[in-house]
Each structure stands twice: as C-alpha cells, then as structure tokens.
C-alpha cells in the first residue's frame, strides 16, 4: 500500500508550466492548487489571471478562470465578485501588471474595499518581456532598461514601490502580509498567509493582500539557487517580511 507524503494537487491539469526553471510563480501556483484542494474551492472559486509570465496559468487549473487585460485584474474581479458574492475570487498579479500597468485598478479596488483576495508576485523585474526595469526594481539592480554599471538610479526612475505597505494604509484592505518562497520553511509560511487571506474572503470581511517575493533566475541572470540567496541578501532589506496589517479582528 502507498502512503503519500506529497502528491501533485488534484486541481492541476497535466499541462507543463511555461515558467523557466526555478521560477517562484511555479511554487506559488502550486501552493494555490494545494489550498484549492484543501479548502474545496474547485467548484466555488474563480481565478483571475493577469498579463505576464503567469498569463497562461488558466490552463494549469481545472477550474473557472478569467484572463484580464494589462493590470485590469482587480477591475474584472470586482465585476465577478459583485455579480456573484458567493464565489471565492482570487486575483493573481505580477509586479509589472499590478504596480505599473494596473496601479489605478488595485488602488481603487482597495479604496472600495472589494471583498476578494489579491496575490501579488514581486520579482523586481518584468519577467516575460525580457528583464526590463519594473517599479519594484531595487536601486542599483541592473535590468535591460537600467544597464550596468549604475543599474536603477533615483534621478532617473525614483524609488522601489512597497505595495504591501501602501495598501495597508487603506481602510478597505483588512489584511496585508509580505512573504517569500526561498526556503522550505518560508514556503510553508507563504501557504499559511495565502490560506488566511482566502479564509478572510470566505468570511466576507474585505480585501486581503499577500505580496510574495519571488525568484526570477532568468531575469536576474543568476543560477536558480543563487537567486534564492539574492532574495535574502538584497530583496528582504528593501521589502521586509511579515504581517503589515491585520484588521480581521476589528472587522468583526
């Protein structure tokens, strides 16, 4: 008899992801699939996908999904959630999509206090289009549009955007946390944060937001295991991990 310690989540189809080797999207997609299985969301959930590396993700899940235009995922999710509040709507966006193309949509969804969950993948670069500078790129980090030796400099392109802190300021956002997926312990912590965010939506309390610092080995031009170290060495200094806001108790 076989006793499984880890088995591929059932909501996943047989499709092989289009992500590069070592991509953090794959890990977060997997955690979402595990939670969909555990929380029984396959029938009752709708995933809203963005433009970016994850724009083909709807084919990895055997469930309802909607593919929104550039940055418009929170706007599309607003319509879905308002049309049928009984559905669990999970919005998944990357940093180019959420911070740059769709800044207005995410801000106003937060201002209105829409009751869905937003998962924000921050890899400090535009992955799909070829490693251009994103609003979340660190100062001094090189990208194809911020070449060496200077990398991103303040005079040209300002400062990295801290979305988890910005959204935590809004009364409509009841939960904001920043996690990462660069070690087994932190992957478990990330899953816990995602579970809490989805549970808060099911309880109908307000918008829940989880920012995930995610490795992009191809965009950063590093070996995958080195990209994990880079998150520890550089990214977490600019984007500190932890719960930034948890108003779920006051919202009762």
């Amino acid at each position: 008899m076989r006793k499984y310690v880890y088995k591929r989540p059932e909501v996943f189809t047989d499709a092989i992801t289009t992500y590069c080797g070592g991509c953090g999207h794959g890990i977060v997609n997997k955690l979402m699939a595990e939670l969909i299985d555990e929380m029984g969301l396959q029938e009752n959930g709708i995933l809203v996908w963005p433009i970016g590396c994850s724009c083909l993700s709807d084919r990895y899940y055997d469930m309802d999904a909607y593919m929104a235009l550039h940055g418009r995922a929170p706007a599309a999710a607003t319509g879905i959630k308002r049309a049928d509040p009984s559905k669990c709507v999970i919005v998944y966006q990357g940093d180019g999509d959420l911070v740059s193309e769709g800044m207005a949509e995410i801000m106003h969804a937060g201002i209105r206090g829409e009751k869905f969950t937003v998962i924000f993948i921050n890899n400090a670069i535009y992955g799909m289009t070829g490693a251009q500078m994103a609003p979340t790129t660190l100062l001094g980090q090189t990208a194809t549009t911020a070449p060496a030796p200077l990398g991103r400099i303040v005079d040209n392109s300002g400062y990295p955007v801290k979305m988890a802190e910005i959204l935590a300021e809004l009364p409509g956002v009841i939960y904001s946390e920043r996690v990462t997926v660069n070690s087994p312990q932190r992957i478990i912590a990330c899953k816990k944060a995602l579970k809490k965010a989805i549970q808060l939506q099911l309880d109908g309390k307000g918008m829940s937001f989880v920012e995930v610092l995610s490795p992009c080995p191809t965009g950063w031009k590093m070996a995958p295991t080195k990209a994990l170290d880079w998150i520890d060495d550089e990214m977490t200094k600019v984007y500190p991990l932890g719960v930034i806001k948890d108003a779920s108790k006051e919202a009762e």
């Binding site: 008899m1 080797g21 997997k30 992957i187 995958p224 994990l228």
Partner: protein, 68 residues
C-alpha cells in the same frame, strides 16, 4: 516500509532546489537529458520521506510516498 521519491522526468527543469534542500543529500545531479533539454536529478539511498524536495519543486515534478 520503503520510501520512494518519484521524479516526473519530462516535467523537471533542473533548478536544483530539491538537491539544495534535501536534508539527507539523497538527490544529486543527473546525467540523462529530458525532452526539454534539462538534466533531472537522480535519487540515491537514505530517503526519510520528509517531502521537502516535493514541496520546493516549482514544477510539481516530485511525488513522495511510503510503500509497504
């Protein structure tokens, strides 16, 4: 009781996360190439079926089970 790590050969993209995080050093670099041109790891002896390799795999290529 036997602990088994099963790697979906063509799903692997050779990121090396499983090799890095295996607490017992059971996995090591492979020498056979798969359909996509990557070299999936090979499984050695001494697995304790903790499931860490499967949890860190971004491509869900690893299944871990105990067999009687």
């Amino acid at each position: 009781m036997k602990n088994v790590v099963e790697i979906d050969f063509n799903r692997c993209k050779e990121c090396g996360y499983c090799i890095r995080f295996c607490p017992k050093g059971v996995l090591s670099k492979g020498e056979k190439v798969n359909k996509k041109g990557y070299y999936p790891p090979v499984v050695g002896d001494g697995c304790i079926a903790c499931g860490t390799c499967a949890r860190v795999c971004p491509d869900t290529a690893i299944t871990v089970y105990k067999e009687d």
